[in-house]
Each structure stands twice: as structure tokens, then as C-alpha cells.
């Protein structure tokens, strides 16, 4: 009896996983009960909306207004990122998903499309091209799989930019780096001045991605990573990717990153804190760092004008257009294919005419976000942080290419392997060639 009890710990650990799996394994029956069976009228139904946290206030207002118009009803539930990914996958697989769900486009969306789990929005948008064409092309492309639109943007564009502590740079006599060589030259000067050149939240792994994504693009252009996404054999072993990884290692060896960077937690704002406390001079991070951390945790620093920003440095002799940016395009709404027709009709109507209507765009810009919609220059100029917002808006709209963050552009298996291997590049545990070869192997298995 004691034996059975002691083994229980291990069994429980396993059954935790297995139970979750068991819950999803009924996926094929694709029975549309819970969410879908409730509908009544033929044209407009009660649609459910699942969304990740961040845009609730805007969506709440939009849904409240929508429910008053009588074109069906919407009900929203908000989730945190990581639990959401699992819950959504399980629910959709079991045919119990919501009518509308948010995602990040790219490879994640493609997985759902491949399983026939999401509804195409192409024909509805073709009927109203003006709704389609106002969206930044690069952002629309993030919701497009195999030339069909499956998802529409719901919040602001978030390109990755270079943040700088201008006071620290001035004191060290360093100008904002416009080329990679200038950046490398600034490293010893800043170290001499007693500050870390670059802050990075390495413990969270994903901040590493921004460096390899930008460098690869600057060296070889967007085609290099496009080939990876397309699954072309040997795509990871492109010379541009290997060179990008070795440039990262040069920067690490030169002491470019703050001491202990591999233990700095990006999710708790520690990487930004290093910049605004003057311990580090620069940081490469997504636009969310401005509204999420700098302007809230260090309002004085921002108001004093000490926070400045620029685009990622150019790489001399590189094939990539220096206006290219990478980052998060937007979050997107998609409609599940399993939902009842009346719910889909309501959802489609709302996605086209509710989300990103004038009021929605106003609310969104009020929260400090920059919507991926053309012709908003005047609105952006009236926001609380016009200089910042104009910068984000213009680099996003004028980008030669807007590359979706690599981990989101790839399927989950490759993304996980990429994060682990890239971390080892930053820790100098593997060579650039090994990095490329390891990922090639994972890509071929997929």
C-alpha cells in the first residue's frame, strides 16, 4: 500500500500531461455544442470572443457599442498569453472553441489554417476592398496564409527599435550608432565610461531573437528568412544567418551586453530599468517597451527627453534595405470554422465594420498604440507622445519589409529549437555553423 502511494507522485506528474491530452483527443468529432448550439436567429447570433490581455478597454467599448446596434451579440473573455495558447488549442481541437479568437498571425495561424480550423475572410474583404486596402500591406500579410486572408489586425503595430539613454551617450561622447561598425566602436568607449553598452533581457530568451532577425535582414535581405519560413532545404545555413550569428558573438565577446545579461528578466522590466537608471546605454526592444515600461515606470526620464530612439543600424555592404523593420505586426482576430453560421455572420460583420472603425481607431490611439491603418497622420500628431508615435507609425508604414518576429513566423517546434540554440549562440556555447546546422536538422524533421 505504501508503495502505491509513493509512486503516485510520479504518476500524478504524468497524468497531468495525459489528462490535458485526453481532453483534446476527442478533436475529430468536431461537434459544435457549447458555443455553437446556442444560436437562434438565422442571420445574427451570439458570438464569443477570446482575446489576450492588452486591448480590453478598446474592445470592451467596441463590443458594448456593437451589442446596442442589434446585429447579434458579442461576449468577450480575456486571457494571459501563455495559458491562452494552450487553452485555445485544446478547445478548438475539441470543437469547443470561441467564434472569434486572437492570435499573432504567421506560423501559428498557418497551423490552424492547415487543420481547416479557421474561416477565410478573403471573399468578405474582396467585397469591400476599401476596408482591406486601408491596412498596412505588411500587417495584412501577417494574417495571410497561401494568398488567402484569414486574420485581421486588432491593435497597434509594434516594430522593434533601438532605445537609448541620451544622457549616458552624451556623457560618454558617443553619437547614436547608424551603422554596425559605429555600434562596435561605441562599445569600448561606453565601457570605458563605466556603463554597459547594451541592455538585454536574456533570461526570457526571446529578446535575443531581435538581434538575429535584424542582422540577417540587414546582411541578406528578407529573402533569407522567407526561405526558412517556406521550408526550403538548407535555408538555415544561408551565409547571411551564419554571419549574423557570428556578428552577435563578436558583440558578446567585445562586452557589448550588460554583465549578467543571461539572467536579466525581460518580462519584469529589468532590461528597461538598466537603461533608465543609467547603468546601460542602449536597448533593442519592441515598441511595447515605451508604453509598457518607459513611460510608466520612468515617466520623469521620458519627460526629461533623456529617452531617445532610432532604427537598427545599417550593416555596411549588406543586401538588406535599411528601412526594413522586424517586430510584432499586430494581434489578429480570426473566426473558427466550427462555429454556427449565425455566430460567424455576427463575427464577420463585427470584424469588418466594428473592429478598426473610427471610434475604435480613436480609442486605440488614446491608449498609446499605433494602429496599422493608413491615413492616420493627423490623429497620431494629436496623441500624448506625438514624436514617439509618429516615429513608430512612419517606420512601420514606410518599411521596405516588415518581418514578423521569428518565433511567431515559424511553427512552434522550430520556434522552440530556435530560442534554445540562439541562447547558446549568445552564451558562446555553440558556433554560428552549429547553430545553422542544428536548426536545419529540426526544420527537416518538421
Amino acid at each position: 500500500m505504501m508503495k502505491a502511494k509513493k509512486s503516485l507522485g510520479a504518476v500524478a506528474a504524468v497524468s497531468g500531461l495525459a489528462l490535458t491530452l485526453a481532453a483534446c483527443s476527442s478533436g475529430d468529432d468536431a461537434d459544435t455544442d457549447t458555443s455553437a448550439g446556442a444560436g437562434g436567429e438565422a442571420t445574427a447570433g451570439a458570438a464569443t470572443v477570446w482575446v489576450t490581455a492588452g486591448t480590453e478597454s478598446v474592445l470592451d467599448a467596441s463590443i458594448a457599442a456593437w451589442n446596442e446596434t442589434g446585429n447579434g451579440t458579442l461576449e468577450m473573455q480575456t486571457f494571459e498569453n501563455d495559458p491562452f495558447k494552450q487553452k485555445l488549442r485544446t478547445a478548438v481541437s475539441a470543437g469547443e472553441g470561441p467564434t472569434v479568437f486572437s492570435g499573432w498571425g504567421g506560423g501559428g495561424l498557418a497551423e490552424y489554417v492547415k487543420e481547416g480550423a479557421v474561416e477565410s475572410l478573403q471573399s468578405a474583404l474582396d467585397a469591400e476592398p476599401e476596408l482591406r486596402d486601408r491596412i498596412f500591406p505588411a500587417v495584412l500579410a501577417g494574417g495571410t496564409v497561401n494568398d488567402e486572408i484569414y486574420a485581421l489586425p486588432i491593435n497597434g503595430v509594434q516594430p522593434v527599435v533601438f532605445y537609448m539613454n541620451q544622457a549616458v551617450l552624451d556623457e560618454a561622447g558617443v553619437a547614436a550608432p547608424t551603422t554596425w561598425d559605429e555600434l562596435m566602436a561605441a562599445v569600448p568607449v561606453l565601457k570605458e565610461a563605466g556603463v554597459a553598452p547594451i541592455s538585454i533581457g536574456g533570461a526570457s530568451k526571446w529578446p535575443y531573437l531581435m538581434w538575429i532577425a535584424y542582422l540577417t535582414d540587414r546582411i541578406g535581405g528578407p529573402e533569407v528568412f522567407d526561405a526558412v519560413v517556406a521550408g526550403e532545404p538548407g535555408a538555415w545555413e544561408d551565409p547571411a544567418i551564419i554571419e549574423a550569428a557570428s556578428m552577435i558573438q563578436d558583440l558578446v565577446e567585445a562586452g557589448g551586453f550588460v554583465d549578467g545579461y543571461s539572467a536579466v528578466d525581460a518580462n519584469q522590466g529589468a532590461a528597461e530599468a538598466l537603461v533608465y537608471t543609467g547603468k546601460a546605454a542602449m536597448q533593442l526592444q519592441g515598441a511595447w517597451a515605451y508604453s509598457g515600461t518607459y513611460s510608466t515606470a520612468a515617466a520623469d526620464f521620458v519627460e526629461a527627453g533623456d529617452l531617445t530612439w532610432t532604427t537598427f543600424p545599417e550593416v555596411e555592404g549588406g543586401a538588406g534595405d535599411p528601412t526594413n523593420v522586424t517586430g510584432n505586426l499586430s494581434s489578429y482576430f480570426s473566426i473558427t470554422a466550427d462555429s454556427a453560421e449565425d455566430e460567424k455572420a455576427t463575427a464577420m460583420d463585427w470584424l469588418l465594420h466594428g473592429v478598426m472603425d473610427d471610434q475604435y481607431v480613436d480609442d486605440l490611439t488614446d491608449t498609446g498604440a499605433v494602429p496599422p491603418i493608413s491615413g492616420l497622420e493627423d490623429k497620431i500628431a494629436e496623441t500624448d507622445a506625438p514624436e514617439w508615435n509618429e516615429f513608430v507609425y512612419s517606420i512601420s508604414e514606410d518599411a521596405g519589409n516588415f518581418q514578423l518576429s521569428w518565433d511567431q513566423a515559424l511553427d512552434a517546434t522550430q520556434a522552440d529549437a530556435l530560442l534554445t540554440n540562439l541562447e547558446q549562440v549568445f552564451l558562446l556555447q555553440i558556433t554560428p555553423e552549429e547553430f545553422a546546422a542544428n536548426l536545419n536538422e529540426v526544420a527537416q524533421q518538421g
Binding site: 507522485g9 506528474a13 491530452l21 549578467g260 543571461s262 530599468a273 547603468k279
Partner: protein
Amino acid sequence: MTVLATKRAEAKPRFGPPASLSVPALALFGFFAIVPLIIALGLSFTRWNGLGSPEWVGFDNWVTIFSDPAIAHSIWLTLGLMILSWVIQTPIAMLLGVFLAGHERYREILAVIYFVPLLLSSAAIAIAFRNLLDPNFGLFASGAIPFLDQNWLGDPDLAFITVTLIIAWQFIPFHTLLYQGGARQISQSMYEAAALDGAGRVRQFFSITVPQMKYTIVTSSMLMMVGALTYFDVIWILTQGGPGDATRILPLAMYQTGFVANQMGLASAIAIVLAVVGMTISLTITRLSGFSRMESQMEGE
């Protein structure tokens, strides 16, 4: 003697509650432990990304488990964590437990302090240590004590031992509690007899306290070792298995493979390995120690 005693026990007719009373427990155990285990076993022969339907791939996942260097690394780390946890936690917990078994006031006050980590959730412990050890804003970041100003969680060579020590800090109080209870069970008369025979404190500890706590040691060791197979939350919050794969023990590998990389088949195979190793360890310890017989050591010898 032992053999005889066991036989006699078996020969006796058994009295006690009817076996049917165990049905509810067995049914729950079967439904929540055995059935999922079987499903996981089935899934371990498939490739499945969590969407759509699983695709049968035969022994592919099992070949991966026994050939993939990353998984082999995770297995070594798990074994290392298990052994290191035992080596660090057992002596400390035993000494503290025996010390706290006394009934003096000051010992009880100290006991309250020692047991504080028991009251904290794993997540709180992990977040607290993560901030204390932050290389730039943490407790030792000022550099006042150069030896302690290390990149504890970010250096691949240090992270594993750091994590092990934090886990020890979290679990030593629990095992201390077990040893305290065990030590209090020991009859005072044995110590008196030993004192009459001229045994000093150290001799009494090794000749009476340790042997008398044999079953406490077995229980505590088993909980520690099987527990090491399930450590997840603390490590996940502290390092997410990093830096690199320096702290990616098997439960983390299982989670990341299953729920981050969406390879449910391979993750199920890892889960099965964990279950089998856990059961093997607990069965082995039970067998080797004669734990299941539970005879008293008061008489004989």
C-alpha cells in the same frame, strides 16, 4: 528470524475492513492516474501537434528519446538533481529535525523560524530568489562581497547548483518536520540505557537515533528522489530551463516539448519515462530497505 516472522504473518487469517471499501479509491486512481497513463502511452507512438488528429509513427519518438543528445542531457540533469538534492537535504534536515525534537522553549521558537519556507508558495519563492540574485539590482550586485557577486542564474556553470540550493532551501523544512517526528518517536529509555553504557552524544546519534529513524529516512529519501522527478515550478520561474539547457530537467523538457513546441507524442514518451523511473525508484527503495515490512526495531538485535 525475519523470514519466519513474515511467514507467520502471512499464515494468519486477515482481519480488517472488507476489500470493497477500496473501490472508490481504486476507481479514482484508475480514472485519474492509470487511464491517462495509458492514453499517454498510446500517444507516445504518434506525432501530434495538438490540433487535428494524431498520426501513428511507431517507435519514432522512442528512438528519439534514446538517441537525442538533448534528452540524454535532460536525463543526466534529472539524475544529478535527484542525487544532489538528497546529498544536500538529508544531512541538514536530519540534524535540524533531531535538534528540534527536544522540547525546550528556544528549540520551539527556532522551529517556527525554520519552518517559514513551508508556508510560502513555490512561485513566491522562485520570484523572490530571482530578484535577490538579479545580477544588476539584486542583493549581491553592489559588489560589497565579491565572492557572492556572481551571475548565479545566468552562468550555465552556476545555474544548476543555484537552482538545487534554492530547491533545498524550499524543501529542507518539510523533511526536517519528518525527522522531528521520527526523532520524537524514539523511546527515551534507549538513550538512558546508552548513557549507562557510557555512550556519548555523537555515539548515541549514530547508534540509536539514526538506526531508529530508518523508516523516516526511507520515507524522506523516497519523497526527495521521486520529488526530484516532478520539480517544475521553481525552475520554470527561475530559469525556464536555461541558460541554454543548463537546468532543463526532464519535467521541463516534457512541458516545453509538449506545450511550447507542440510535439505531444514526444512529450508523452518523456512522461512515460518519468513515470517508469519514478515507480522504479520507489519500488527499489522499498524493497531494499524492507520498508514494506515495517517491523519494530525495539526488540531483538
